[in-house]
């Protein structure tokens, strides 16, 4: 038994250095098996019982799409139910929000893919933004224009970021208050410039 085991280990250990004699990529193969078996039930991943339990709960929480969404907002649901649908009220078909704040938001976000652009509701959401240098981190920016006037509190910015662990994305639970404030100030700066241009033209 020991001789057989040692022989197998020596063969495999020699080939396991770098990519080995068989030119394998253990990480790539592991990810392929994750897709087949699921990350938590991949027989080649080593988990303690507790780690497997947490992994399964995370995988379950992520659902088939692999993303843990925002938590249910009971208050919002009640508001939606009472208003007979979305609680956001729109005014007619013309733009009900400040034009300069809206255009400033679009200018600020123009280098990113946009998932939602609702000019009536004044809401913009980018798609997930990733950088090549940080493949395990992604963020998105939500901008909500809430005023018809060019006011300092007329734009609200929310930044959501996620981290990838074991092929599943999780919210990083980090508060980006300063970054959101900087983005809001930038929207106001641009909107102010656009307003001046409007007045001069």
């Amino acid at each position: 038994m020991i001789k057989l085991s040692l022989t197998l280990f020596v063969i495999v250990f020699l080939q396991s250095c770098s990519k080995g004699l068989f030119d394998g990529n253990v990480q790539k193969n592991m990810e392929a098996m994750d897709k087949i078996h699921g990350v938590c039930n991949n027989p080649y991943r080593e988990y303690s019982k507790a780690q497997r339990k947490i992994c399964e709960d995370k995988e379950r929480a992520a659902g088939p799409d692999g993303e843990i969404g925002d938590p249910l907002n009971i208050s919002q649901m009640i508001r939606d139910f009472r208003s007979g649908g979305s609680s956001t009220q729109y005014k007619g078909t013309s733009m009900s929000i400040n034009k300069n704040l809206w255009e400033a938001s679009l200018i600020m976000l123009d280098k990113y893919p946009l998932d939602i652009v609702d000019s009536q509701g004044g809401f913009i959401s980018t798609g997930w933004i990733t950088e090549k240098e940080s493949p395990n981190q992604r963020c998105l920016i939500k901008v909500n224009i809430t005023s018809q006037e060019l006011l300092s509190n007329g734009a609200k910015v929310k930044l959501l970021c996620e981290q990838k662990e074991l092929d599943v994305w999780y919210q990083d639970e980090i508060s980006y208050t300063n970054e959101e404030k900087n983005l809001t100030l930038k929207i106001l700066d641009i909107a102010n410039e656009l307003s001046l241009i409007d007045k001069l033209s």
């Binding site: 085991s5 253990v26 193969n29 087949i36 339990k53 929480a61 088939p64 925002d70 938590p71 940080s134």
Partner: protein, 322 residues
Amino acid sequence: MKKLLIAISAIAAAVGFTAKANADISVAGSSNAAYLSTAGNGDDEELAIGTTVDFSMSTTTSGGLGISAGLSLSTDYDSNNGSVATGGRTATFTTGGATIVVGDVEISDTIGSVGGVVNGPLDDASDLSSSVATGFLDDDGMGVELTTAMGDASLNISFVSNDRVDNHGALNSSTSGEDSAMSASITMPLGDYSFTLGVADSDSGESSSGASATASIGGGTLTVGYSNQTLIASGNASLSTAGDSEVVGATYVMSMDADTTISLGYQSAKDADSESHTQTDLSVERAMGGGATVYLDLRNLDGDTAANADGTAIAFGTSVAF
């Protein structure tokens, strides 16, 4: 306008999109709460609540060798006030071509034995109990596990030097009951299918072989498996005659939408005492966002079982990953 765009790019960089997070210590946890309608001992109704916290530590040497270890604290949902600290008995080394685990490792003695899909609380506390003997009497202990790649195939070899100890004890012990064991398995993709083959052997006299195949069929994932295990009767409460146990099973997992998963499982097993069971599982899970999930699980066990340990058990519960 050009100046404006440059300024915006600077903001994006300041926001931290390019920041790297290489935490050396990470904490993860989850909590479960489930209502169980168990099958055994008068069809009890039970509540099962448990929480687990895991601390993982890792580092990478200047030469690129990854080293990791961890410890967990948990209050298990299948026993009352069962708080334990576990883990810390392995060290994992990750090289470019392999993952090597040293310490308390488990051999793969049930490759091909598939069919279970229900979640932890029902799996652990259903009170269903088959009389069919499957799996080695002892399949873990102090040893080494190595996983590596051979082209697109993955190879795993596990060796337990002493199955009576976990993280400290004699290597190559000649003491009776301190046996060595090993297993080898390979998983390889072949077209739209993935096949896993494995063998295991223990100096206690037990051995096993098995295979499973996985394929995407009808919008879901189908896995079928077969396992043959040669088991000893000495010390095995479920077995009076040494011989072969056979397990045949299948699972089918399908996504109903982005948040809902339905899973079906079937398993048929028979041992050397000619006792057999048929187990059928159903699990429906719905992700609720924020790390929470609700699930409904059902397990039916028919055949040779312990007294009052057959029938159907149901669990309805929630798990939350933090």
